[in-house]
């Protein structure tokens, strides 16, 4: 509570998502008593963790005025390759995880280079990359391969002193990202480059390098999300990452980021993810029909985005 209050004060422009999240949590707690169960709350966090990691990565991308639709498939690739290589072996977990992070970063590097050199709109470029990676995954395997390890499963599902491991990971990532976005020189340059690339360049910033780094971050975080996802699924399912990119995008924008760049917030993005996860969890607990759930999810996204927009234009 205190943390978010402090956030609210510091960054009024990202205020929109917090009241909504509190509202959502409050409504869930009242309407679905099972929601309040601490074990359920831990579940919600586990369920949100993969998307949370991806959304935090995407915040950097949006801050720089770019977009990355390939993250779902990067995560998917890291699920499939990671499981295939680890195949249940705890000893291999860490080196393979490191390898996946490097691979994700490398794909991000390619994205960044292509955006810088080809003059293709990043949305189209990364959409093309999504398709390419999907093809690569299917060429590698058309069915679930390999197994994750105990260690990975612990990372994704376990807890330390009652705190879910993914929560610890998320908080750590969030802290680093938030500081990087708001307090580091790189973060400032990122926002400048996203806010007005031409002017940032004239101010002496190396906009191309910034874009490159942003895609590397995005690729690496997507791979990290994939590693978590591998822990949750236990196997390398080829379609595991499908659609994550859009959910991440929605969460980040709900969290106050502008698709036009120059504005993004890691805590906001995470709040957006949590809102979606709470929503899905609470509706499940309330026994709302799956079809109605989908409808409600759409409505909430619309309502949230419209509300935050109205609030912003009033400010």
């Amino acid at each position: 509570m205190a943390l978010s209050a402090a956030l609210l004060r510091r960054q009024p422009e990202i205020g929109g998502i917090w009241p909504l999240l509190f509202l959502g949590v409050g409504a869930a707690a009242i309407l679905a008593p099972a929601f309040r169960d601490p074990e359920n709350l831990a579940n919600v966090i586990r369920q949100a963790s993969v998307l949370g990691v991806l959304a935090i990565g995407q915040s950097f991308v949006l801050a720089a005025g770019m977009i990355d639709l390939s993250i779902g498939m990067i995560a998917g690739l890291s699920v499939v390759l990671g499981c295939a290589l680890i195949n249940g072996d705890d000893g291999k977990t860490i080196p393979v995880a490191a390898l996946m992070l490097a691979l994700g970063a490398a794909i991000g590097f390619v994205n960044g280079q292509l955006v810088n050199r080809l003059r293709v709109h990043p949305l189209i470029l990364t959409f093309g990359m999504l398709s390419v990676l999907q093809g690569v995954i299917f060429t590698y395997t058309d069915r679930s391969v390999g197994r994750s390890s105990e260690l990975l499963s612990f990372l994704a599902n376990g807890d330390v002193l009652g705190v879910p491991c993914p929560a610890i990971l998320l908080v750590a990532l969030l802290a680093i990202s938030h500081i990087a976005l708001t307090r580091s020189r790189f973060g400032l340059h990122l926002l400048a480059a996203g806010g007005d690339p031409g002017n940032a360049r004239r101010a002496g910033l190396d906009v191309r390098r910034i874009r490159l780094v942003v895609y590397v971050i995005s690729g690496a975080t997507a791979a990290l999300g994939g590693i978590l996802l591998a822990g949750r699924l236990g196997t390398g399912y080829p379609l595991a990452g499908q659609g994550l990119e859009l959910d991440a995008l929605v969460a980040v924008v709900l969290g106050g980021a502008a698709l036009s760049g120059g504005r993004a917030s890691a805590p906001g993005a995470l709040a957006g993810v949590l809102l979606l996860a709470v929503l899905s969890n609470a509706l499940n607990l309330m026994g709302v029909s799956a079809f109605v759930q989908m409808f409600v999810k759409g409505l909430i996204v619309i309502a949230a985005i419209v509300a935050s927009q109205l609030q912003r234009s009033r400010a």
Partner: protein, 496 residues
């Protein structure tokens, strides 16, 4: 200390610079003048690393350099205030001020507090009353301009490039700027100064270089240079100075305007065919008033208008335009031109309906009307299907004017109509406004150049702190009295 040798820059279809050899020394204020599109900004962009030349060399202290990026130029000691504002609107004042050179504290983190503290100090040193934590987007254009200058000044540069820094500044700020410039040049800085305000140039510069059609036609010491001579060099012929508006009997009020703000309710009336000049210092609220008058939904400002006693509905610019009220923006790039679209498309944007039948366009009539009016405005352009972004500032202004005129306005509001416009075009625009007024169009002119207001207007109203504080026939006012009213805020003169 800086020299260019055979500098040439070609764009498809235009040679913006051709074989330019410029030499400027440390400690001098070197002015660069020329008509719109002469190539001044292009030259400055090359010097500051934004644009790379097609041919030619650049020497700094005798050593050949080539700036691949603006960052490289800054590292070599070239600080630039660009003609187009180049701040990042979403970021705070302090962050903009130190962009790329942030102060880093513990753990390599940016020390925001220290930056804001230092920013406050720098701002107050330049007598700028701006909150370092405010976002740049919330500042007026003039303040943004001052902020840019302040930013360039903090860069410890050896060369300072100012590309039309005074275009949006009012007199006090200009004077403050000139003060700073003199001090810096005395400290050994080279200042390259681009401006259309020739009197200013002659007053402050040590030497003046004149550009025409991409060529450097002359470099002269400012002392002893006559204005006429300068104009002749610039445009290749003698310029015609625009005359003052003929004093005329004040016409009966046609528009009665009520203006409500947090400061209270103000009234203003304008007659048919009258040119009313609105003067004031930066931030006096002239633009806000004008936009509200033209139907732009505005926070904290409410305008009611009666034309010949009958109230007008002004809920949107569209409604205002239907009622004959048209506003020409002070910020062409942001909300004036449709940069990617061509000249005709820009010119007819507001009057498509007039030429259309049943919602179907009539491109022939559109083009014919646009051509006619653009010719009468003496537009200089290669082709009419050229993207408007490629025109020089003055010609862009003419296109935007053409758009307004095609709607056949009754009340035309022009905000800084000659900002960034060269002397030739400026006189043409002035003449045009006079002609329109003579035809019965009511005109409201906002300008930060008091000279311009005095030259154009029949009557001058001074604004300060969102209120109309003075009103008098132009003949009864001079620079001093306007400035006094604008800064004092005391009410004087006849009722507005």
């Amino acid at each position: 200390m800086i020299e260019t040798a055979g500098l040439t820059k070609r764009y498809p279809g235009v040679t913006a610079l051709s074989d330019v050899n410029l030499a400027a020394h440390a400690g001098e204020i070197h002015a660069l003048v020329g008509a719109n599109g002469a190539g001044k900004s292009t030259l400055m962009n090359v010097l500051s690393g934004v644009t790379r030349p097609t041919a030619g060399a650049l020497r700094l202290d005798g050593r050949e350099v080539s700036f691949e990026t603006p960052g490289a130029a800054q590292a070599a000691g070239v600080a630039t205030v660009f003609q187009e504002l180049s701040l990042v609107p979403q970021l705070s004042v302090a962050r903009n001020l130190f962009l790329g050179r942030e102060e880093v504290g513990r753990f390599g983190l940016v020390d925001v507090a220290a930056m804001e503290r230092d920013a406050a100090e720098i701002l107050s040193r330049h007598a700028l009353d701006i909150d370092p934590a405010a976002t740049v987007a919330s500042l007026s254009v003039a303040r943004q301009q001052m902020l840019e200058i302040a930013r360039a000044l903090t860069q410890d540069a050896r060369i300072l490039i100012l590309d039309e820094p005074t275009a949006v500044l009012s007199l006090t700020e200009q004077n403050a700027l000139f003060e700073i410039m003199r001090r810096l040049s005395a400290e050994g800085l080279l200042i390259l100064y681009v401006s259309h305000r020739l009197d200013e140039v002659l007053a402050i510069a040590d030497r003046v270089s004149v550009m025409r059609d991409g060529q450097l036609v002359a470099t002269r010491p400012a002392a002893g240079l006559e204005m006429d001579e300068l104009v002749t060099l610039m445009i290749g012929r003698r310029g015609a100075a625009s005359g003052r508006a003929a004093p005329s009997a004040r016409p009966a009020p046609r528009y009665e305007i009520g203006y409500e703000t947090a400061r209270g309710r103000e009234e203003l009336s304008i007659g048919r065919g009258e040119i009313l000049g609105l003067a004031g210092l930066v931030g006096a609220g002239r633009t806000t008033f004008a936009r509200a008058l033209a139907g732009v939904p505005t926070h904290g400002a409410k305008v009611t208008v009666r034309r010949e006693g009958r109230p007008l509905r002004l809920g949107s610019p569209r409604q205002a335009m239907r009622a004959g009220i048209v506003y020409l923006t002070e910020d062409r790039k942001r909300d004036g031109i449709f940069a990617d679209l061509d000249i005709v498309e820009n010119a007819v944007a507001s009057s498509l309906d007039r030429f259309a039948r049943f919602g179907l366009r009539n491109p022939g009539r559109e083009r014919a009307s646009a051509t006619r009016i653009l010719e009468s405005l003496k537009l200089v352009a290669g082709r009419l299907d050229m993207a408007v972004a490629r025109l020089s500032g003055g010609n862009q202004q003419k296109v935007v004017l053409a758009r307004a005129l095609l709607t056949e306005p009754e009340l035309l509001i022009v905000d800084e109509p000659t900002r960034g416009v060269d002397v030739g075009a400026k006189a043409e625009i002035h003449d045009l406004l006079h002609t329109l007024a003579a035809r019965g169009v009511t005109i409201l002119v906002i300008s930060s150049e008091i000279d311009e207001v005095l030259a154009l207007a029949h009557r001058v109203v001074v604004m300060a702190d969102w209120r109309f504080v003075a009103s008098a026939p132009a003949t009864g006012m001079d620079e001093a009295s306007i400035l006094l009213a604008a800064s004092g805020g005391s009410r004087q003169g006849e009722p507005t």
